[in-house]
Assembly symmetry: C2
């Protein structure tokens, strides 16, 4: 029974790693679509969001099946509930990559992001990529220190998000309201991507250490 549980848990963990790698690739592609006006990249993100949704459903089914067959308690039960939370965060991160891709396509072949904002979005995308990479790593091999780094990454993301508004509200912003709306939404998509990565990381830390109940946010 115990060995069977471990084997099932391993399958769930691998599904979560696949999800994390999928959303990392999705946001990476979405950023290319956005900053290089690469239509194929944007379209691939949208087409492949269904794969991430499918992995999400597989996690749910596996967890429900496991709860029904094995009736785990204590830390094993907590691991199952945590898997559901992490899967929900990762699924939402995939949606946010999808939103970035759709925003890029809406302006194609014009760039949705003007030259003045390319540096800040390049940096936001780099942090998003790093955070998704860390989530995939801590899911594959639990590491509370690595998971805790996500908080610092999120602080850096928040700083970039603020500097984005600084550019938009600068006296010399030449692009008008439409470009500001796009940039506002895009900024929010990257920032929410980071928030979900932090949430997922907190869940994993909670699972590893048993410390600090993750607060909803």
């Amino acid at each position: 029974m115990r060995d069977e549980f471990r084997a099932d848990l391993q399958i769930v963990s691998q599904l979560l790693v696949d999800m994390a790698e999928g959303v990392r690739a999705a946001m990476h592609r979405a950023t290319r679509g956005l900053l290089k006006a690469d239509r194929e990249a944007s379209e691939a993100v949208i087409a492949r969001d269904a794969e991430i949704d499918d992995l999400y459903r597989q996690v749910e089914e596996r967890v429900c099946d496991l709860l029904a067959r094995q009736a785990p308690v204590a830390s094993d039960l907590r691991a199952m509930i945590t898997a559901l939370h992490v899967a929900a965060d990762l699924e939402r991160m995939g949606d946010l990559a999808d939103h970035v891709a759709k925003t890029a396509l809406r302006r194609h072949p014009s760039p949705a992001v003007p030259a003045e904002l390319r540096p800040v979005f390049t940096d936001m995308a780099a942090i998003a990529d790093r955070m998704a990479e860390k989530i995939a790593k801590v899911l594959a091999s639990p590491d509370a220190d690595l998971a805790a780094e996500l908080d610092r990454d999120d602080d850096a993301m928040d700083d970039l998000h603020k500097s984005l508004f600084g550019v938009l509200l600068g006296e010399d912003w030449p692009y008008g309201v439409e470009t500001a709306i796009d940039a506002t939404l895009l900024g929010r998509f990257y920032e929410r991507f980071a928030d979900h990565a932090v949430n997922a990381g907190e869940q994993v830390v909670y699972l590893i250490t048993g410390e600090s109940s993750p607060s909803p946010n």
Copy 2:
């Protein structure tokens, strides 16, 4: 055992109803804070978000306790997993009310929403209120028809959201970029509030009818 399960499920259901009523009141207050520059209303939303978060944790604890003690299977197990999903959607709706309140306070005593946009935000808020009311009702007394109405409400919300951009992008938009950024974010908060209400409604329908696996979105 069966009676005990029913009694526990009833407690979880009541917690979800309390959450739904809490987020309805929160968004109602947040809208008053926004449209009437009512500082106390905005501050109350922020102060009381912790109550919604606390209810969320109570749902989680109850569900985990119930899974551990009773090891439900089949539809009972599904009801537990659904309760977790609905609680997560409601918790997020509370956060979105909190974001509206914070946006209003950031501009206080100036209004964050100029006169031209008051009608569209008044309408969005009315739909948000109606949707939160329906979620509370279907959680208190399952009603698949009422839950299904949430989809139509969400369509109306999406139409309003589009008309908001129409105003922002009109040739005679006189307020500049800062107000457009606020309006863009506020529009997104109301629209996401509605999305989460739809998700929660789909979960309840799924539970009542067993039909149509809710797709993540």
